[in-house]
């Protein structure tokens, strides 16, 4: 009797649960490796992404198919964003005490983050389309995708740049902030939230609740400010 190994393998690979299965598996594997080694390059999002891409390419599954099978996780991303209001609220008193430092850092820091990227990109010779896609890279991906499209970039590519930014910020951010002598949890949180959005906020939440609250604050304020003012600024310049 010959068993239909090939058919069985195909049935598994193209099952709607396959995408979720490899995502959950890769994430836990990376998390376990990170807990054991504490090696900062084992950023869970980045390494899980690489593992998942590796599996998809090996099995010949397209991104569209993977995306469809992980739809439920994309849907949960919405309520998770809404849930950031809770740590934000719990630290509201502290935020109110530091209202001026927070707002000043937001406006000046946000400008520096966006302008530095545009200037460097222009200087390195990136195309206009790529520049416009990189401009909103410091904000959370749903906003970045909308804004990029409005100012003449590519939405899906914006999500990737947002992610690269977030991952770099998460890997090097905490060490860089310590090296610059930034020790207060509020300042660390704001810096991570403004420049590295959700991935930075996830790292900040690991440091402490307070850091996480300021990161969530920085991320949401930066998102709102970018969504409103970046298209305006671009239409004025162009």
């Amino acid at each position: 009797m010959s068993l239909d190994w090939h058919g069985a393998l195909n049935a598994v690979i193209h099952h709607p649960l396959f995408g979720i299965g490899i995502t959950l598996g890769a994430y836990q594997l990376v998390l376990a490796a990170y807990d054991k080694t504490r090696w900062i390059f084992l950023q869970p999002v980045l390494v899980s992404m690489l593992v998942v891409i590796g599996v998809l390419v090996t099995c010949g599954v397209s991104y569209a198919e993977y995306r469809k099978s992980t739809e439920i996780m994309n849907i949960l991303l919405g309520p998770a964003t809404v849930a950031l209001a809770v740590p934000l609220y719990l630290n509201l008193r502290r935020i109110r005490q530091l209202l001026w430092p927070t707002l000043t850092t937001l406006v000046i820091g946000g400008l520096v983050a966006t302008c530095a990227c545009l200037l460097l990109g222009w200087w390195f010779g990136a195309e206009h389309m790529i520049l416009m896609t990189m401009a909103p890279k410091s904000v959370t991906s749903p906003i970045a995708m909308l804004v990029a499209e409005q100012i003449g970039g590519v939405a899906a590519l914006a999500a990737v740049f947002v992610l690269i930014t977030g991952v770099i910020g998460a890997i090097f951010g905490p060490a860089l902030l310590s090296a610059c002598g930034v020790s207060s949890p509020e300042a660390r949180g704001m810096a991570l939230g403004i420049s590295a959005h959700a991935v930075g906020t996830a790292v900040a939440l690991e440091e402490s609740e307070e850091t996480g609250a300021f990161a969530a604050l920085g991320m949401s304020l930066m998102g709102v400010v970018t969504a409103v003012f970046l298209p305006l600024a671009v239409s004025l310049v162009a």
């Binding site: 991104y63 995306r67 964003t81 934000l88 990109g121 590519l157 002598g181 300042a187 959700a198």
Partner: protein
């Protein structure tokens, strides 16, 4: 407990989506939902137990939820490769500059405010 909290979160996001569709097309629904939930919590003056349970369970898995959109990189591999160094260089340098700048600025401002409050 968890389900009731989750229902609240979903409700606020749906409300945000409705508002996004009606008035504020530049802000995505979840962000409007976040602002609405924050306003609601400020009005109520406390976080109910189900809501805090649902929020903390979801936020614990936030990195996991970000993996699928990240895998989208594989579709744009060729575009990224064409401008690879310009993209990576400007993204990496600008995020590092922004991080250091924001951190130092915020810390300086906090210290200044603390000093001002000491000598009224």
């Amino acid at each position: 407990m968890l389900l009731r909290g989750l229902t609240w979160l979903v409700l606020f996001q749906l409300l945000g989506t409705a508002i996004n569709h009606l008035f504020l097309s530049m802000l995505p629904g979840p962000i409007i939902g976040l602002v609405l939930l924050l306003a609601y919590l400020m009005l109520r003056g406390e976080v109910s137990a189900p809501l805090s349970e649902a929020a903390s369970s979801l936020l614990r898995y936030l990195p996991l939820l970000l993996v699928p959109p990240a895998v989208g990189v594989m579709v744009y591999a060729a575009d990224i490769a064409a401008d690879f160094w310009a993209i990576v260089g400007s993204l990496v340098l600008s995020v590092l500059i922004a991080l250091a700048f924001c951190g130092v600025l915020m810390q300086k401002m906090i210290a200044r405010q603390a000093r001002r409050e000491e000598k009224p």
